[in-house]
Point group: D2
Chain length 345, copies 4
């Protein structure tokens, strides 16, 4: 059994990490931290985990609690993680960090979109945890930077096309739709039920902080700088991200050829499902699972390739992929503890 | 008072037409037809209208009921309207038809996307009822073809840019999101609560029947053939359409200049609201009203113009615009009976 | 035109008061206050009211703004209203207060459930604004205490039965269900979308602060002390309250006789609709309107009378009834400005 | 491995049975039937199960398909199951039937509420599959009648009180709230998104077909005839049942004593969680799990005991409990394959 601690565990990704960890056949959950709920039983904060997760939240300062952990998931907010993760690394623990703090290969982009980086020395060492793409590097890593929820769906849908040089990189437009849990558990006006329900709206068009993360990763695949338009929308649902990506193919290609390319690309990846012809993904069909469903359409009239990806933002977009990365790092079966099928309806 | 009949009144647009008609200061609602509910009181079928709409649905064959009507709204389904509307026109009644049957200037497109047209002689006479654009022609029309819900939002957001030759027409991509009421009141699997709730999915990418309507109308403005990609998505909400349209500007333009162009273009149009800088439309903010809110973003990094429009699909996208057209045809104030402010939250 | 000010106007009931006021044929809205948004245009805070409500929020201290108002709606929170309303009364303004501060006939109950009352001298003068029941008293009042949302639905459904001595008062159980907007616009954990969506839960069973208000009012009708069980539930919807009230009839009565009693009781009340036999109210059928729909079932097997009432909590349960009360106080038609039919779906 | 077939597998409970079966460590799913989708791959009908359930639906008539099954779940509709189950029993298969057809001990009640029973000889043999209560009988049964969704929640919350003679049986009132999936996957008007969303309504007050099932089972516990009022409500959510049951205690008892009685009653039942003092169940906290959460309130002011139970209607209310019963019948761990923790949010 791997002894695991989760820090910053009182948000939605923390709740999912706890849920998945206590059901994981090779994890023993030994400690969970939360500043806000320090001293409270997990079941008081998350009745859903009630009788099963028998731990009490401790404050981060009470480092004793984590001493026996070999492995740490950090679900701290952006810019807090970089203050804590270096100590865990020094103590020899393996870490999957779910914040943006270690996702950038150099501090410049981070500092441009977030703030001054206080642990830049770890950026080279950290491995970007898009499991299907960086599996080999993740295997040997001590620190994995778990991808953002939007980037996970965007990259899984675009990378095969980019790697196979199928599309004009300048043409890429990403229209993304996310459920409200993506905004976290903090009580803010825009996340109120009556503000989000029965409405849909775009936000941060071209200025969302996941843009540079997407551009960096596609640039590394394309081996050239990538600049694209990313438009997120807030949707009246708890979970799920749907990405509709538009690109112009470099050469006219048949839909079935692209489907073949994608099926080959992901042939060894259990969590990526390429939709059958004439069907399209829905967030409904992946909810509660670690799947990423990808649908492929070629519109010959306008010469566009349309790629659609659906994930559960809290699982493949966060906590599920974190477990997947831990499984890889620990030499376990990659799907260990995350084989749950989607909950429909 | 204008004596009005509504045929095909038992769907959601029929319900809205009845609701708006009985509150309209210049309408006397004299007859409502429904094959399915013929003989039933309106209040039995729509308890919301209960004590106010005191009519009983009659079958279409009982033409007597409509004899005294001067004005008819047809909310019959596509391809049924063209069997009925010619008789109404012959009887000298003015008609606003909410189906697709009279939206095309020639029968070809209609026959390609729908079916054989049985009243092609009316196509030249019919005026496309996008009120803000064709106000003058609508004024003198006997038959107005009310635009589709998606086309209304798409066209109002794109026409000023097209008319001012701001954008490369080949670059246009439209990502649209609609509430479930857009699919009508027929009990079909995809419209079930448990199928639509907590999920978002695209459908009919590049093949939705509103595509040729949008292309025809933009082509008439641009005076050239237009071919574009239209991708609708089904959203877990009752009402609302949000259109996010992407286009490449022909020349670099400043956001504020485009905002000015739009404000000028719509300066006499009460129902079009251009969003203040740095704000974006939400369907939440137009629900229950005849407004179309338009937001304008220029992303200089990728050289894209993003136009976002929000409408209530059942009001500005259907029944509200139908009343607006009737007001114009009858020489009334254009906003008569449709001044309701949005219901928020 | 009546010159109206709204204080505490930046919550959901404030938004509704503004929406209804600017569409009211006899109201000129002259000032709106908000501490939080003081200095901001209404359209910035509520884009739905955007181009129509052209006022700017002022702080309460800037009393100048309200000087010309003859009539004031106070939508301040409980316990804040009693600090402000006495000054307005002294200035000779007519006031409808939407808080609980003036709903109790004596300070004891208020102080037991809320806090120390600072203006107890106004309690005798204030008229409880349940329009259908206290119309005559409201007509002559300077200060009307608008009922709570739950009490409005509960009282309208129970009062005819209580007044006609049809039920055993000790038997009454009220199971109520409310949309999330009832919790207001403050960002609190329980009102977050992801906390409230896809779930239903009871809260404050037997301890909700609307309990004494209901008991006081039923006691006044029954001319004896009333003690009942009130169980509210939080529902995943924006608007609406449904009350399912259970009581044991004193004598066996036929359903149609009780329906007759209710129809007679409310025969002059446009906003109360008694459901036809075999139909039951739904919040869906009153949304966006000032209606209260009441359904009546007698279960002879268990000898129970079940009364079901549905209202829009922000309209008949708050702002709509406030306007109704103002209409009565000002000698206008009682339904002036609030004749909107429900928005379905 | 137990070879399992599911008949009538194309509804929501069938989907859940397949999902749980293929993840169950001791089940091999060998056949699934559906008349409507016969010949279609499961993944075509339920993309969520896509790559995992590799079976094709067969028609019931193709009995070959089921020959190798030792165990059959029947998710056929009421009144269809009784035409099929007798054959399965004759063939020596063990059966859990999810319809109402074998829930009644004698045919009278069934025939009064449903229709003529065609296999009454099986009624005595069938065991009512409320796992926590009838575990011993289920162990030896060949045919288990899985309880209805409402009865499961109602009975688990009331049985300890009834068995301990805590309450006056004549006083019981049950106010229940259910998500829309409870109505099944058939396309009917009331289950449409736009009809059910943003609204709550009661239905079949006192006349719901689960009433006699509840009365029969409580009567068996109480050893006397029970007659109670059951009022279901339709809620705008996919999954979940919340039951709020009201009863008058025979003698005044303290809340903590009743909590103790319940904790003792269910001390060996993993799937029943008694809420800590001052907390109440929410369907949100059991979604996706086989748990039944029970909250207990004593309102001393009105002398009422209020019992609140929350379940996932498709799991503990149907397919999860069916698996639980199969586990008991097969001598497996009772929670085998159904240990999933709730999915929150």
């Amino acid at each position: 059994m791997i002894k695991v601690a989760i820090i910053g565990a009182s948000g939605y990704t923390g709740c999912e990490l706890m849920r998945l960890s206590v059901q994981h056949p090779h994890i023993e959950l030994v400690a969970v931290s939360s500043e806000k709920f320090s001293g409270k039983a997990v079941g008081e904060v998350f009745p859903s985990l009630g009788t099963t997760v028998k731990l009490t939240f401790h404050a981060l300062a009470e480092q004793e609690a984590m001493r026996e952990a070999d492995f740490v998931f950090s679900a701290l907010p952006h810019s807090e993680a970089m203050g804590v993760v270096p100590h865990l690394i020094q103590q020899g623990k393996k870490v999957v960090d779910l914040s943006a703090d270690f996702r950038f290969r150099t501090p410049d982009l981070y500092e441009q979109w977030y703030k001054k980086h206080t642990a830049p020395e770890l950026l080279q060492e950290a491995v970007y945890g898009l499991s299907e793409i960086y599996r080999e590097k993740i295997r040997g890593a001590q620190l994995v930077a778990n991808p953002g929820c939007y980037p996970t769906a965007v990259l899984l849908s675009l990378i095969p096309a980019v790697q196979n040089k199928l599309i004009d990189l300048k043409s890429v437009i990403i229209d993304a739709k996310s459920g409200v849990s993506g905004a976290g558990r903090s009580p803010v006006l825009n996340s109120l039920f009556a503000e989000a329900n029965e409405g849909v709206k775009p936000y941060k068009i071209g200025t969302h902080q996941h843009t540079p993360e997407i551009e960096q990763e596609l640039g590394l695949i394309a081996k050239q700088q990538v600049s694209l338009l990313f438009t997120p929308h807030l949707m009246p649902m708890n979970r799920g991200i749907l990405v509709t990506a538009y690109a112009t193919p470099k050469n006219m290609v048949a839909q079935k050829d692209i489907v073949n390319i994608y099926q080959t690309f992901y042939q060894n990846d259990k969590f990526v499902r390429i939709c059958p012809p004439d069907t399209l993904p829905s967030t409904h069909q992946v909810k509660g699972s670690n799947y990423c469903d990808i649908g492929i359409i070629v519109d010959s009239k306008t010469n566009r390739l349309i790629l659609v990806a659906a994930i559960d933002n809290l699982i493949k977009g966060a906590s599920g992929q974190a477990i997947q990365n831990m499984n890889i790092m620990a030499g376990l079966e990659e799907d260990s503890g995350i084989t749950q099928l989607p909950l429909f309806p």
